[in-house]
Structures are given as structure tokens and as C-alpha cells.
Symmetry: C2
DNA sequence: ATTGAAAGTTAGAGCGTTTAACTTTTATAC
DNA sequence: GTATAAAAGTTAAACGCTCTAACTTTCAAT
């Protein structure tokens, strides 16, 4: 017994044991705190307690670390989205508006993560895991819109309507976190705008 | 006369004469072609025919070059916006929708410029010239919405409505150029969506 | 004509990613 | 159990880019 745990400790000293996961966790944290543009592989190494060359035994390059972070981020967003719907009623106007608010909330709470997920990063976005998680996330929106349309006898393609809503909340999130609203309408209440615009985009009267 | 022009030529050999402007032009071109994230000061120097240290006699740092590019870009966008309105009628639904389409068109035609204008670049955005040009650009939208409201007896704050429209077209432009629509709705017709959504967001029936 | 400021130049420091070559552990096969 | 190959680390250094320091050339003003 003693020998085994001793072995494990020694192993930990050189062979980290879970470096891949440790680096992803470190990257996630560092990105949330300082933004992806300031993320240095070397910093993640410091957190994990290994040399700066170690990551390249587990990842192709810096981008592959970011890929892992982005798929994780999408999973988190999907979860928050679902929670918002659950709290306000599946297939209802309120539920759909709450999803929109959750989207913007996510962006406001984790701007660097949001930027990484939706910004200009072709290599990261091309990764299969990322695409899958992204599609899953949007799928939940389509689902809710379809339910709403069925419940309220509304004609129109659910996907098309979902895209319209996505477009709006995405614009709101982006303009918000990049400080563009501030330049033009300081102290703007985005949440209110979303609640007001959602029925308009669903083409129903409140 | 001859002596003067000779002087000018010699002057051009060492003292460039208009390096500041030449660098801005080079930067603008390089950014349009390759994206701001790949823009190297050194490349602009090559185009202008000076050493890599020369720019620092005219600009604080790389960001100050980008500032100049962004204010230029806003001026171009404002112009295109005005042209679109002029072509479809000031203060009309069509005119406003055309502004929206022009916004998205600008993004599609110059994605790197659009990203630089609205992305995460606090130092660049804080520059006074940039802020001014940005506000001027949005001012045109408010103007048109106010006109439309007056002409059509529509209640509601013009600024608020303009922000709603801006939010939508900004989301459309962003999702378009970053390839996010493609992941979910390939071959999506953004322009059509904008024409359909504009009356919804203005809260009028087509 | 002189001379100080403006606008260039060259050289190199500083920083991050990534590769190459080497070392230590781990796991397997006998 | 031990030999040995593969896995997972390490150190050292090359590369590419921004920006500074120190020096030079040209311009403009007296």
C-alpha cells in the first residue's frame, strides 16, 4: 500500500498524470480572467507546474488547447440556456425570451469566452467537437420555437424564426460586451430591449 | 524650378515627405487584404519603403496606426449608409431597410475592417477621432428613424428604435462574416431576413 | 552659414511559440 | 523480475515581431 502511494507521488513529480486536463482547466481560467488574446501557453504551464514545452506532447499547438476550451464553453452555455427555459416554461414566450436573456447574460459574465466562441478563429471553429457542441446549443432554441409555434398556431419555419432571434441576441451581446452601446446610449438596458423585441421577432402581439 | 523639383526628389529619398499618410494607406490596404490580426507594422514599412523603426516617429505604437484606419473605415461606412438611404428614399421603410443591408454589405465586403471597428480593441475605440466618427455614423440611423416615425405617426423614441435595428443588423453581420450561420443554416439569405425583420422591429405591418 | 529639431537608420533587447535532442518513467513481453 | 520500447517530461535555442536606444541625415530658421 505504502509503496503504491509512494509510487503515485513520485509519478506525479515527473509524469504529471493528467496534464492534458490540467492545461485545459488552466487555459479556461486564464482566458476567463484575462481574455484569449492575452492567453500564453507558458502561463498555463506555470499553473500546471510543467515546462513550456510539455503541452506539445498533448496538443498540436496553442489552437488545439483553445478548441478544448471552446467546446467546454458551449456545453456550459447550453446548460444555462436550458435552465432559463426550465425556469420560465418550455415552449412559452417567456421561456424563449429568457433563453435570449441567458445568451446575453453569458456574454456579459464571460466576455472572453463568448468572443472566443463566436469570433474570427477559423481553425478553432472547424474542429469537429466545437461544431457539434455549437449545433447542439442552437438546436435547443429551434426546439423551443417549434414548441411555441405549435402551441400558438403560428405559421412559419421554426428554424427561420430561431435564426432571427439568435441574430438579435447575438447583436445585443456583441455590442454590449465590446462597449459599443456605451458610446451611443450610456446605461442602456439590454434585457428590457430583448424582452420587448422577442415578441416582435416572433411576430406576435404581447 | 528644376532645382526645386530636384530638391523634392532628394527629399523623398530620405525624408519621405508623407510617411504618416503612406503608412495609414498601407495599413488600410493590408488589413483589408489579410486581416488586422495579421497586420505587421513591418509590412507597412516595406510598402512605404522605410525601415521598421520609422513609424515610431509618427505613431505612438501599432495601435495608433489602427486608430487612423478605424476612423477612416467609419467615414466610409457612413458614406455607404447615406448612399443607400438616398437611393431608396429618406425616412421610408425601404430606406431604413436599405441602410441595414448596407451595414451588412459593408461587413461582407470588408470583414477585417468591420471586425476592427467593432471588436475588442479598447485602446483603439477610446480614441476621440474614432468615437466621433462612430457616433456620426449611428446618428444617421437615428435621423432616418425619426423621420420615418414623424411621417408615419409612430410613437416611440427614435433612438430606442434605432438601437433595436442596429442590434439586429450587427448580429446579422457578425454571424455572417464569422461563419456561424454556415454551421447551422448553410446558404442563408441574410438580406431577405433583414428586409423581413425591419418592419417587425419598427413595429409596423408590411 | 550655423545649428537645433525633425525624420530617418541600424542594432538589438524582450517576449512567446514551437522544435530538436536528450532524459526519466511507465508498461509490456518474456 | 528485467529488458526495452514508448510515453511524457526537460533544456536550449531558433524564429518572428514590436519597440527602444543611439546615431545620422536633412530641413528650416535665424
Amino acid at each position: 500500500m505504502k509503496v503504491q502511494s509512494e509510487t503515485v507521488r513520485l509519478k506525479a513529480a515527473y509524469h504529471h498524470g493528467g496534464l492534458r486536463e490540467a492545461l485545459i482547466a488552466a487555459a479556461f481560467q486564464l482566458i476567463c480572467e484575462y481574455g484569449a488574446e492575452h492567453f500564453k501557453v507558458a502561463d498555463a504551464c506555470r499553473l500546471a507546474g510543467v515546462s513550456t514545452a510539455a503541452p506539445y506532447k498533448h496538443f498540436r499547438d496553442r489552437d488545439e488547447i483553445l478548441e478544448a476550451v471552446v467546446s467546454l464553453a458551449f456545453a456550459v452555455m447550453t446548460e444555462k440556456s436550458m435552465a432559463a427555459v426550465a425556469a420560465h416554461g418550455a415552449g412559452t414566450l417567456k421561456g424563449i425570451a429568457a433563453m435570449g436573456e441567458a445568451y446575453v447574460d453569458f456574454a456579459i459574465q464571460q466576455p472572453p469566452l463568448f468572443r472566443l466562441m463566436f469570433g474570427q478563429h477559423p481553425d478553432i471553429k472547424a474542429a469537429e467537437r466545437v461544431t457539434e457542441e455549437g449545433r447542439a446549443c442552437f438546436g435547443k432554441v429551434i426546439e423551443q420555437v417549434a414548441l411555441f409555434c405549435a402551441n400558438n398556431d403560428i405559421a412559419g419555419d421554426a428554424t427561420e424564426i430561431a435564426v432571427r432571434l439568435w441574430t438579435f441576441v447575438h447583436g445585443a451581446a456583441s455590442l454590449m460586451i465590446d462597449g459599443d452601446y456605451d458610446k451611443v446610449v450610456p446605461d442602456f438596458d439590454v434585457k428590457r430591449m430583448i424582452r420587448e423585441a422577442t415578441p416582435m421577432l416572433l411576430n406576435v402581439r404581447e
